[in-house]
Chain length 437, copies 2
């Protein structure tokens, strides 16, 4: 493909691309340089295919690609797209362009997009699609099937939602139930009225949890007054779950999702900068502690050499505990009611690891420091205590955060690691000073 682009063989290129699935074209775009991306994208003469391809790549890349086109063409392509995708792409474009494009779009579509944009990011209202199939309860099954056959515009139909005259959600019928139902019955007679639904302002993570728990293919979105305004399909939920996982991982490392997408180094640095500040503050704290024990280090310089070992092991042990507890809480393996049990389990792990690594490191120290038994004991004991305390703190913070409704993933992040570094160094010098003469 790259060879075709370099050879400027646009006719052949067009032929090759025509045969591909839009998702494959999207995948291809992900693997090309941005100049090549523009060439490939320009061969998609059909706005319908362009729309399908853009729905499959990241919203920010899609926005960048569209910005190079004329507003009229942008509007045309966005009109072809599902309005939830169109809304997310428009949200990533500069404000002036947004206004112009919205004006150029067909009224029906721009209204839908503007409605979606009116909801907060990462809520059900923002990610739902306002195109869905809703039928009145007093329709006959036979007629309903005919409606389904006509409704090519609505996103993949799996369920038919039943509403009253004011669009209030009354019930749901699966496509399969509809097909197997007797033609003469009314929809309200065969519908399930106990529908699992979400409100427009509910967090997308909660929506994903409901869809996963009840194995749904789509979930209806209603207003506070139970008016049906959209649906969220399972393919969007797949994206939500991936995105939320990435968000957690980024948060654990003291940065954020925006970092990945920032093409600009200054932007990315601005995201990372504040997290490093916590290390700086922790580091200054450690400096102040160590300064108070200058004499100890002057007399026994071997102690200096073990600072990295104590910090490295303490940090890792804390991280293992906090991650294990955090993931246990998030995945439901650890119930919030068994917290005493969790802390007790981590305490035992801390004791096992603390005792074994304390002993091992004590022995190694004894040989490294030319058979100095005092130094071996001091390092061994200090490391044991640091491991036990780090395990405890590592399991305590996520539980605390969960209780006060903060994302427990932060507990594995730089703030807590800085606190644990500081505590580890304090324990190290205090215990060494106590044991050594």
């Amino acid at each position: 493909m790259q060879r075709l682009i370099r050879r400027n063989a646009s006719a052949t290129l067009q032929k090759v691309i025509k045969k591909l699935h839009p998702a494959d074209i999207a995948l291809l775009l992900d693997h090309l340089r941005s100049s090549e991306v523009k060439v490939v994208f320009s061969t998609l003469e059909n706005t319908e295919i362009a729309a399908e391809v853009l729905s499959e790549i990241s919203y920010s890349t899609a926005a960048e690609l569209l910005e190079t086109l004329k507003p009229a063409i942008i509007a045309e392509i966005l009109t072809e797209m599902a309005s939830d995708d169109a809304a997310e792409i428009i949200a990533d474009m500069p404000d002036e362009l947004t206004d112009e494009v919205l004006k150029l779009m067909e009224d029906k579509n721009s209204d839908l997009v503007e409605e979606l944009l009116s909801y907060t990011e990462e809520t059900a209202g923002r990610i739902m699609t306002p195109e869905f199939l809703a039928l009145k309860g007093d329709l006959r099954v036979e007629d309903a099937i005919r409606e389904v056959q006509k409704a090519s515009d609505a996103e993949m139909v799996f369920y038919v939602y039943v509403v009253d005259q004011e669009q209030h959600l009354m019930g749901v019928i699966s496509l399969r139930q509809l097909v197997t139902g007797s033609p003469d019955k009314l929809l309200k007679e065969i519908m399930i009225s106990d529908v699992i639904r979400v409100r427009t302002d509910q967090d997308q993570e909660e929506v994903a949890r409901l869809v996963a728990r009840y194995n749904l293919l789509a979930i209806p979105v209603v207003t506070e007054r139970n008016k049906l305004v959209g649906i969220i399909t399972v393919d969007d939920i797949l994206d939500v779950i991936s995105d939320e996982a990435t968000e957690d991982i980024m948060r654990m490392s003291g940065t954020s999702q925006q970092d990945i997408e920032a093409s600009n180094a200054i932007q990315a640095s601005r995201i990372r900068f504040p997290w490093i500040l916590t290390n700086l503050i922790g580091g200054i704290g450690a400096f102040l502690i160590i300064s108070r024990y200058t004499n100890l280090f002057q007399q026994l310089s071997a102690l200096i050499g073990f600072i990295p070992l104590i910090l490295g092991i303490g940090g890792n042990v804390a991280n293992q505990s906090s991650t294990s507890v955090t993931q246990g809480l998030l995945s439901g393996v650890i119930s919030p009611h068994r917290i005493g049990w969790v802390i007790f389990r981590e305490l035992r792990i801390g004791l096992i690891l603390g005792f074994s690594y304390g002993l091992l490191t004590g022995f190694i120290t004894f040989f490294l420091t030319s058979m100095d038994i005092g130094c071996g004991i001091a390092i061994g004991v200090a490391l044991s205590v640091v491991i036990i305390v780090s395990t405890m703190l590592g399991s305590f913070f996520p539980i605390l955060f969960q209780r006060i409704n903060i994302d427990p993933a932060i507990a594995s992040g730089p703030i807590i690691i800085s606190i644990i570094d500081f505590i580890a160094i304090t324990l190290y010098v205090a215990i060494s000073a106590l044991i050594l003469p």
Copy 2:
């Protein structure tokens, strides 16, 4: 609910539970103590409901609960379950019990379960369900609809797969196409023959990627010879995506998914132990470096105090880079062909962060060390270099790992952090020794 259990009000309890959705009972079990879980579980007299509840909780918990029952009842409950869930639960039970239960299960079901268990864990073959709807290509649409109406046993039907006489996958028809097709046509006339499929030995992560990319509700699983043996539905893919994310996060922290599920502290310690070894080795390396510069630290004891700061910031900066690059690669935002660009971007971020934090820390050091300008310069310069090198290494390792087909998530784990700690301390003492007299 807990009050009802404590009061031993089993009749009321049973009445309350009867009204709940199986997924809600499962959620309830997650929030109860294990003794309470047993009480609630025992009120589910109906094996069908018990089966549904067990499908919704973690496989290991389900296995634990079942083990308390008689083998005949276990077999009865497992027979009611989808065979993919049954297989995973059986895989978590002790071997003797497994054999007994399989013998007691209905032949048809135990054969299916044994077939699933014959595939490697985390492959398409292991997570697929062998119960699906496949029809012959020369069937008429009308008759096919009748078959769909009869097929209540197959997992949620969205697609009808079309096969030849030897069960080879020929095409697919969506339920919607079937309903809207003219009754007299043959299936092979209206089917899409270009079906996206997976082989039994493909990794579940790859399967999830395909389902997400093409927005599928189910994907057919075929043998090497294209014989259709099962399907994987999107609800199972939701679980795969969550599990793989947890696996990545655990791996980043030097532990594993098994850690969360290990009820036994010794088991969990055994998982965490080896990762700490990398810190121990890195720590000993750092000790050897520092020992060679004992004179330097004796003369300028302020340098000791800054060791934690250098290590803390170096580690965090490396972690930010490696996580950002890893997630960028995994999510497709960073294309493997733009690696030069990524490294250049991280270099610029390293320069920005290195320069700003070097300057800031140099100033702070100047004041902390009673206006010692040499010390301020040494620490500032050393920190700058450490930040730049850590950023580079942090972005380099995930790219390297991806190239040689190792999970890049390991690059944020303890091994790399230990290496970076070691390099940071080496740079720190070398630069300080160079700058200070």
